[in-house]
């Protein structure tokens, strides 16, 4: 077959097949039963797309392509094999960043090859065509924002940046706005300039996009990370789409748009779960600025009762039903195996054990589900908020492991609270509540949790894993 037929027919058909596989893949990824097959289908789609790309090139010098793919494959493999399930949010954030920067690099490479190298005297919009010139600029802008935004998210998730707290620059909204307008201006100037003059504007655009990524992410608090990570996921898709416009390839446009939509849907789910608008999350600094932290009454705790594992074990032992509410503290303490062990022991004694999962518990969408799945907790025992909430009033014991704001009754009872209106797990309706927590320090909302003062609440202070091991020891001795 000659290269012409390959170009005009074979390659487009391969790309079409790969597109169809992506669509089926994502569709199946959103159902538990078929998710694994969906992922495999999408991977096959990707393989086809790469074969298509190689065929489209024909015979070229493959050394750089092969070298780049080999290096990428090894690094990707190492990441995938070595990453701990507790570090999944960091991993996803980092990969979003890689996707973003790849799109920006493709656009920059196309620009360099066609404009700077080939026709340095011509105007950029004449050489590339206005359409393509604009998409090159957008690709660099979105890719750059995704890259540094993801890196900042990664550092925040690792607790390296002020322990994940929001960082609020003075006049940050103005700085961000000016920089965004400036970046558009740099892009516009680059499009209109002659090729050799445009380099400096492209560099300015690149720098602007990288700084924007940082500025847009630093004011966002650690617990808003589920929103940010899924939003960056959406950006990485849109960046891929833009790269598709640059090289005129519909597979990139479609695959990128699908990812963009998926990320946006998850972002929306996360926002609803916190009763906040996307804008409100992005503006950032929740519970830190504007005196919003005070909410309902004093921040001091007055009547908190605490107990040790022995006392708690005795109550647990006699409980007929137990609901476990995991939060970020469980992930930090890596206590997922310990919680399963305790649950197994209690189940063996006839206690009914279920888990109540708040949609934004943890640091990424579905964080708790992944963590507990790693410890072999059957996913049938993990119940969504709407399903579990009517159960609390008929439940003997609730065990809260490192969760805070998602069980704060102030959200439903105190209309002046900063978290008013946020859907919560109604843990306080249970007969007794144990809260395992390292201290009385507030959660991300920066407010006190009145649940801790309730008569039916007992605090067990300590690291979730150590407390659980203590409980396991006590239950064994009973």
């Amino acid at each position: 077959m000659n290269q012409e037929v390959i170009q005009s027919t074979v390659v487009p058909v391969i790309y079409l097949l790969s597109t169809v596989l992506f669509i089926f893949g994502i569709k199946q990824l959103s159902k538990v039963r078929t998710a694994r097959r969906g992922n495999a289908l999408a991977a096959v789609g990707m393989l086809l797309a790469i074969i298509g790309a190689l065929l489209e090139l024909g015979v070229v010098d493959y050394r750089w392509i092969a070298g780049g793919m080999a290096i990428g494959t090894v690094i990707g493999l190492l990441f995938a094999i070595r990453v701990q399930m507790t570090s999944m949010p960091e991993m996803v954030a980092l990969f979003n960043g890689f996707g973003g920067i790849a799109s920006a690099l493709v656009a920059a490479s196309v620009y360099w090859a066609l404009v700077v190298q080939r026709s340095p005297a011509g105007k950029v919009y004449e050489v590339l065509g206005t359409d393509e010139a604009i998409t090159v600029m957008l690709s660099i802008l979105i890719g750059g924002i995704t890259f540094t935004g993801s890196l900042i998210a990664l550092f925040k998730l690792q607790g390296k940046l002020k322990k994940g707290q929001p960082i609020l620059l003075p006049a940050r909204h103005y700085i961000t706005f000016v920089l965004l307008v400036g970046s558009f201006a740099f892009g516009g100037l680059a499009v209109a300039a002659t090729a050799s003059d445009s380099v400096v504007w492209i560099l300015a655009l690149g720098a602007g996009s990288l700084i924007l990524g940082v500025l847009l992410t630093i004011p966002i608090g650690g617990a808003d990370m589920p929103v940010v990570v899924s939003l960056l996921n959406s950006y990485s898709g849109i960046a891929a789409s833009m790269a598709g416009f640059v090289i005129g390839n519909p597979v990139l446009i479609i695959a990128g748009a699908l990812v963009g939509a998926a990320g946006l849907i998850l972002t929306q789910i996360m926002c609803v779960a916190m009763n906040r608008s996307l804008l409100n999350v992005l503006v950032g600094g929740f519970g830190v600025t504007d005196g919003g932290g005070g909410g309902g009454g004093s921040d001091e705790y007055t009547s908190v009762t605490s107990c040790g594992p022995e006392e708690a074990a005795m109550i647990l032992e006699n409980a007929e039903s137990l609901i476990i509410i995991p939060g970020y503290g469980l992930a930090v303490a890596q206590a997922q195996h310990a919680v399963r062990e305790l649950a197994d022991m209690l189940k063996a004694r006839g206690t009914k054990v279920t888990y109540g999962i708040h949609p934004v518990a943890g640091r990424m969408p579905g964080h708790m589900n992944v963590l507990l799945a790693e410890a072999d907790v059957p996913y049938e025992e993990l119940l969504e908020m709407d399903v579990i909430n009517p159960e609390f009033k008929n439940t003997d014991v609730v065990l809260i492991l490192g969760a805070n704001d998602v069980v704060n009754p102030a959200a439903t009872k105190d209309p002046t609270s900063p978290i008013a209106g946020m859907p919560i797990l109604n843990a306080h309706e249970a007969r007794s509540v144990f809260v395992v927590k390292r201290s009385l320090s507030p959660g991300y909302a920066g407010i006190k949790n009145e649940l801790f003062e309730y008569d039916n609440t007992m605090m067990i202070f300590g690291d979730a894993k150590k407390v659980l091991q203590g409980l396991i020891g006590e239950v064994k001795d009973l």
């Binding site: 669509i23 990707m46 790309a53 750089w64 996803v92 196309v110 992944v370």
Partner: protein, 98 residues
């Protein structure tokens, strides 16, 4: 009416976005993370563009940028699909035990 390549691209983009929204309206929370990381792997499709951007052996700026794009996009693809599979395997194994 004749559509230029940019407009055709925009048509495709808009329609594909709708397909995406329609397909994934209801996702069980168990799958939020795998869906995100699987979708993330798909966004590594940029590798197709990157391949076309590093086609000579010469160490030119364009080639180096292209090669870097290949590396980052391939990490995204390989790591993304594998780690998603690792997660989904964890979800799957309970069914067999029952």
């Amino acid at each position: 009416m004749t559509l230029g390549p940019l407009l055709i691209g925009i048509y495709v983009f808009v329609l594909a976005s709708f397909v995406g929204f329609e397909m994934i309206t209801k996702v069980p929370p168990t799958l939020h993370t795998p869906l995100m990381s699987g979708a993330n792997a798909i966004s590594g499709i940029t590798v197709v563009g990157a391949i076309a951007a590093a086609t000579t052996g010469a160490p030119t700026v364009a080639n180096i940028l292209g090669a870097l794009a290949i590396v980052t996009a391939t990490i995204n693809v390989v790591g993304g699909f594998l780690v998603t599979d690792r997660m989904l395997r964890m979800f799957g194994k309970k069914k067999k035990k029952k």
